[in-house]
């Protein structure tokens, strides 16, 4: 493997792709091979390479460091909100607009059915193509996104629907326009609204849980994280830029900030980790979606015994004791 710290998942997974390329080439040769013994030999070599590939994949993904998790969480082929919505829920109808100012496509949502029962799904959506990335503002939600979320939370409350939020953002939009229209107020008001609901809320960090932009829609009775997602107070590169004036020290900052699901769970800041298929959710989105569905159903079932006021208190209590302090 290269000595330099990888900056993208693509770079980091290069050894795997080299093996995959080798397999593809051998397969191409094998198809044309007429001689039986040589064909058998090729078959053996392909199996051997495949075995090495699978072993390597498993080892790589069972030992992901914090920075590698950052790369996986940001991978462009990782399942996004709508990928999960399509596989986990039925009959999703996207409702749009904040009824205040404008349209935001980085936070989207609407009602859908989960195992036959209506729920309100709200989450961040990133884009894959250049056009879609621009439309989604690269996952950086504007104030209108949070205000639309507030509207959808109110609808959920009125129609007694549990709320599921799927979190996947590098952070909220910090530009001039967002600042002019009160991005800070929008995030704070969204959290305030979520604390006031008497329906169950489950939040799932599916990719990047970036700072205020993430927690703005992550106030819940249960907070879950996918195994290779990250949750952080600040982007590692931003932290490195501020503390050490070296944005390139992102890997060190990721380590120091303890951004992995495992670390976050050890501080009891989340309730559960949703396991991912070997090699990450992007290798088997259907199986990741199935795990998400199982987790959502079991957590909603547990919460169904609580009354509205109990749900509200449960949520307040859940966050009330978070923090680590000493007495002088």
């Amino acid at each position: 493997m290269a000595n330099a710290v990888p900056r993208t998942l693509d770079e980091w997974e290069k050894p795997l792709r080299d093996l995959e390329d080798g397999i593809t080439k051998l397969k191409a040769v094998a198809v044309k091979e007429k001689d039986d013994s040589r064909a058998a030999d090729l078959k053996y070599r392909i199996q051997e390479l495949q075995r090495r590939h699978d072993n390597y994949l498993e080892v790589m993904y069972s030992q992901l460091g914090p920075w590698e998790k950052v790369l996986v969480a940001r991978a462009p082929n990782r399942p996004y909100m709508l990928d999960y919505v399509n596989q986990v829920f039925e009959g999703f109808v996207e409702l749009q607009g904040d009824r205040r100012y404008g349209q935001d496509h980085a936070i989207i949502g609407g009602p859908a059915k989960l195992n036959g029962s209506p729920v309100m799904v709200v989450g961040h959506q990133k884009g894959r193509t250049i056009q879609e990335r621009q439309l989604r503002n690269f996952g950086y939600a504007r104030p209108e996104g949070y205000r639309k979320a507030i509207r959808l939370f109110e609808l959920a409350q009125r129609f007694s629907m549990p709320v599921v939020t799927l979190v996947d953002t590098p952070g909220a939009d910090a530009g001039l326009e967002a600042e002019s229209r009160g991005i800070s107020e929008a995030i704070a008001a969204s959290m305030l609204k979520m604390f006031s609901l008497t329906v169950p809320i489950i939040s799932v960090i599916i990719g990047e849980g970036g700072s205020g932009g993430a927690i703005g829609i992550a106030i819940a009775n249960r907070v879950l994280m996918f195994e290779h997602s990250i949750y952080s107070v600040i982007a590692p590169e931003g932290c490195a830029a501020i503390l050490w004036r070296k944005p390139e020290m992102g890997p060190q900052a990721a380590e120091a900030l303890k951004v992995t699901a495992e670390s976050v769970l050890s501080f009891q800041l989340i309730d559960q980790i949703i396991p991912e298929p070997t090699g990450g959710a992007h290798r088997d989105p259907a199986s990741a979606a199935q795990s998400l569905k199982v987790s959502l159903l079991s957590n909603l079932a547990e919460l169904s015994s609580l009354s509205g006021p109990e749900l509200l208190n449960d949520r307040a209590n859940r966050f009330r004791n978070l923090g680590v302090m000493a007495i002088h």
Binding site: G175, E185, I187, A188, L257, F267, F319, H328
Partner: protein, 282 residues
């Protein structure tokens, strides 16, 4: 930026903005506001409490809370100890109960000189308790902000303080406990995007820096050209985010008015409050 420069043996202080030189004692008497250009220089939590509360009415609470280093974050212990030595405080916010023109208030005052007023577990807890004391003692809660935002060195624990404090504000809302927030220089990021922005009334000192992301981050986000007043209290006010910009010398009287106007219904409920006239039960 707004730390006044010192000349000589501390007898003179130079305005950080207009560079005019003042007698130190006059500068302090003028509440560290430049008499020439009106620039509000930062003040300590202790001084803020002195000029806000009635004489000798403030009782500090939770002063024994201090941060650990739960993430084992590099250099955090040294930075914190340095801040403790410099300020005599254990963390970035001072909280307690005081009185404003006789009316009881639950008060929290941030001190920027302690690690940039940043919010970690302790600051989050103290703000939460300040709001909860408003609930418990049936009195208005007032928070003075002076902060760069969440404290990175406590990682996600700091982000969770945004939720925790906002939850306390939500409980105050439901119980009709007035909650007033005063933005002083600076009020930024994780604090602005949580409890600070959901107060019933928001006041700000003139020219305070108020914004979501530091200008460097904003520039990274593609903000190349911004107006001169970008991320100032005046910018936030002009965009409808702040009720009133109030000069430091007028803050106490404005707070006093608001406490009386919004908190009148609480007086009957305040037990054992000698100053309660309407609600005296015995």
């Amino acid at each position: 930026m707004s730390k006044p420069g010192k000349l000589g043996e501390g007898a003179f202080i130079q305005c950080a903005k207009c560079k005019k030189i003042h007698f130190a004692n006059e500068f302090e008497e003028n509440l560290r506001v430049c008499s020439s250009c009106g620039w509000h220089h930062r003040i300590s939590a202790q001084r803020r409490i002195e000029i806000t509360c009635d004489a000798n009415s403030f009782e500090e609470l939770d002063q024994d809370l201090k941060s650990g280093n739960p993430l084992d974050f590099p250099d955090y212990d040294e930075k914190r100890v340095g801040a403790e030595d410099k300020t005599g405080l254990l963390d970035s916010i001072v909280t307690g109960i005081g009185r404003i023109d006789g009316n009881r208030v639950s008060l929290a005052v941030a001190d920027f000189s302690f690690m940039g007023g940043s919010m970690g577990s302790v600051a989050g807890e103290k703000v939460t308790r300040t709001l909860e004391r408003g609930l418990e003692k049936k009195c208005p809660a007032i928070v003075f902000c002076a902060t760069g935002g969440a404290r990175m060195q406590e990682g996600l624990l700091s982000l969770m303080q945004m939720a925790k404090t906002t939850s306390a504000a939500e409980r105050c809302n439901r119980a009709s406990i007035p909650y007033i927030c005063v933005f002083t220089d600076p009020t930024m990021a994780g604090v602005l995007a949580s409890y600070a922005s959901v107060a019933d009334v928001i006041l700000a000192e003139p020219k305070s820096m108020v914004g979501f992301a530091g200008l460097r981050v904003s520039k990274q986000a593609g903000v190349s050209k911004v107006p001169d007043d970008f991320q100032s209290a005046e910018f936030a006010y002009n965009h409808g985010m702040i009720d009133k910009i109030v000069e430091r010398k007028d803050l106490k009287s404005t707070l006093s008015q608001l406490v009386q106007l919004l908190g009148g219904h609480l007086l009957e409920q305040q037990e054992g409050d000698k100053l309660t006239t309407r609600g005296a039960k015995k």
